[in-house]
Amino acid sequence: MATEALSARDAARPRRRLFRRQRHREAAFVWCLLLPALAIFLLYRLIPLGWNFLLSFQFWEPTKPAEFAGLYHYEEMFVYDDVFWQALGNTFVYMAMAPISIVAALVLALLVDSRIRGRGVYRTIIFLSYPLMAVAVGVIWRWLYDGKVGLFNYILRSAGLIDAPIAFLETFATAMPAVIVAAIWQIVGFFMIILLTGLQSIPQHLYEAASIDGASRFRQFWRITLPLLRPSLFLCFVIGIIASFTSFDLIYVMTNGGPGHATELLITYIYKVAFTLTQFDYAGALTVVMFLLFLGVALLGNLLAGGEAGKVDITE
């Protein structure tokens, strides 16, 4: 691509000075094209990130001038704030939804990938939950989990598994698993689609060769499918990790972090500290920790994936 463009430019070059002026104009044009998008990212990504770091080292209230606070907020957070530790732990527990839904999605993808009739319909149905508004999904699942007349209680009681109804979202032991199930329901279709694309990019002749060599289907799966699917699998993993740091809507609607702080994630805690307690400075420090954790886990996942997940070819 690059060499082609250069040779074309060479061919179209009448005189050197004209060429240079034209190149200046072209550069100006390119920057004009980039500017609007870059302005948005500057305004709502880079500046906020920097400001956030700054905020976390300050005492700051909307009406007062800022004062340097040093590590005060971090000390507060790590030493005194039990809710922070609970939210942190919950965030990691919530991450469990990633491996569970990846395994489920892998099974589904293999099933849908077999050439059966109606697989397009199955694919649509399983994916249908992903583009839905998470707020509405939360409302629906609240209703399914309802302690008095919810569907799940009905099913479990009819099957004789439980004697008394369980208010899933109001019980400490069940609230987190219940929320995780809803999150898996929503994301599993997306993972399935990613894995399907991965499966379809595996060259068919590998399987044919393996069949000729007499490899069993299980062996083929273990030796061909899984290794070649690794980038897709880890891509799902990274997306799942991101979701556990960002899925605010579902938690907010289903439990709002309750009961107690049993389903409090870092993001819901940050929201509460910032916008109901209006401690912007402390929430800023929480956000810094969340962001660094997120970055660490995402980079780790990326490393395990062999650097495939976040890769864009810069040299092209």
Binding site: A2, E4, A8, A12, E26, W31, L33, L34, P36, A37, L38, I40, F41, Y44, R45, I47, P48, L49, W51, N52, L111, V112, R115, I116, I125, I126, L128, P131, L132, M133, A134, V135, A136, V139, W143, L144, V149, L151, Y154, R157, W185, G189, I194, I239, I242, D249, Y252, V253, I267, I270, Y271, F275, F280, G284, T287, A298, G310, V312, I314, E316
Partner: protein
């Protein structure tokens, strides 16, 4: 190759499909009957179907206003995304000094989840005087990095000979973008429209933060406010829920392929 029987696969997939569709069915049934809000056991089949919960929901909240707010914000986001992303995507197909730095910046921005910037983003929006406004709702979503790369990939796939032919004819660069590139980038346009629509439509955290005025609420915010007022005591909540879901579902079903392609190509990139 297909010596194994098919029916177990169908059985398993049908089972999963039922599990995936069950929540939809349940909320639809409740919104149409409301019969088991208080009664136990719930009946599995709908009995006494009537549309009155929808009427209640329609009048209990300024539904038309919420809908209009959501549509307006989504429209602004879609238009801005098309312009900004197509321009940036086209710029990235060219060679220029600082391109590597720009790509680096874009890729790093991709690693900053919006949730990690909400506090300063709120303060900035307040400084700009955009709290409680459509522009304030839409502005942070004016450009998605994934969509820029989708445009770039699409432009890269256009044969360079076409562009050179236009250049030799003396067509100015911006006209090349408008007349040559964009008509050939229809898949990227479709993907951009649907992705930015769905993201804007479903967005909840940002409206929750910057909207204080009931008249400016978008649909998801309206739904959560409604839930906060009435808890689970009325079928109108579920009717509202269905009314909120239907537009997104409709758009998704109409443009399923573009949506899936966009998500998978976007996900591959980041």
């Amino acid at each position: 190759m297909h010596r194994y029987p098919r029916w177990p696969i169908h059985a398993a997939l049908i089972l999963v499909s039922v599990a995936m569709l069950l929540p939809f069915y349940w909320v639809l049934k409740t919104s149409l009957t409301g019969e088991n809000i208080f009664a136990y056991p719930p009946s599995l089949l709908p009995q006494g179907i009537q549309p009155f919960f929808y009427v209640d929901a329609w009048y209990a909240i300024p539904f038309a206003r919420f809908f209009l707010n959501s549509v307006l914000v989504a429209a602004m986001v879609i238009v801005a995304n098309l312009i900004f992303n197509a321009a940036a995507g086209y710029a990235l197909t060219k060679q220029f000094r600082g391109k590597t730095a720009i790509l680096f910046v874009l890729l790093s921005c991709m690693m900053i989840p919006f949730q990690a910037t909400i506090i300063p983003a709120y303060l900035i929006t307040a400084e700009l005087g955009l709290l409680n406004s459509y522009l304030g709702l839409a502005l942070p979503a004016f450009s998605h990095i994934i969509c820029i790369f989708i445009f770039k990939a699409n432009f890269d796939a256009i044969p360079p000979s076409l562009i050179q032919a236009a250049r030799i004819d003396g067509v100015p660069e911006w006209k090349i973008l408008l007349r040559v590139m964009l008509p050939l980038a229809k898949p990227a346009i479709a993907t951009n429209v649907i992705l930015s629509f769905i993201w804007s439509w479903n967005d909840f955290l940002w409206p929750l933060i910057i909207i204080r005025d009931v008249q400016m609420q978008t649909m998801p915010l309206g739904l959560s406010t409604f839930l906060a007022y009435f808890e689970d005591t009325t079928g109108a909540l579920y009717a509202f829920c269905v009314m909120v879901l239907v537009p997104g579902l409709l758009i998704f079903l109409l443009a399923q392929n573009q949506f899936i392609q966009g998500l998978t190509s976007g996900a591959r990139k980041g």
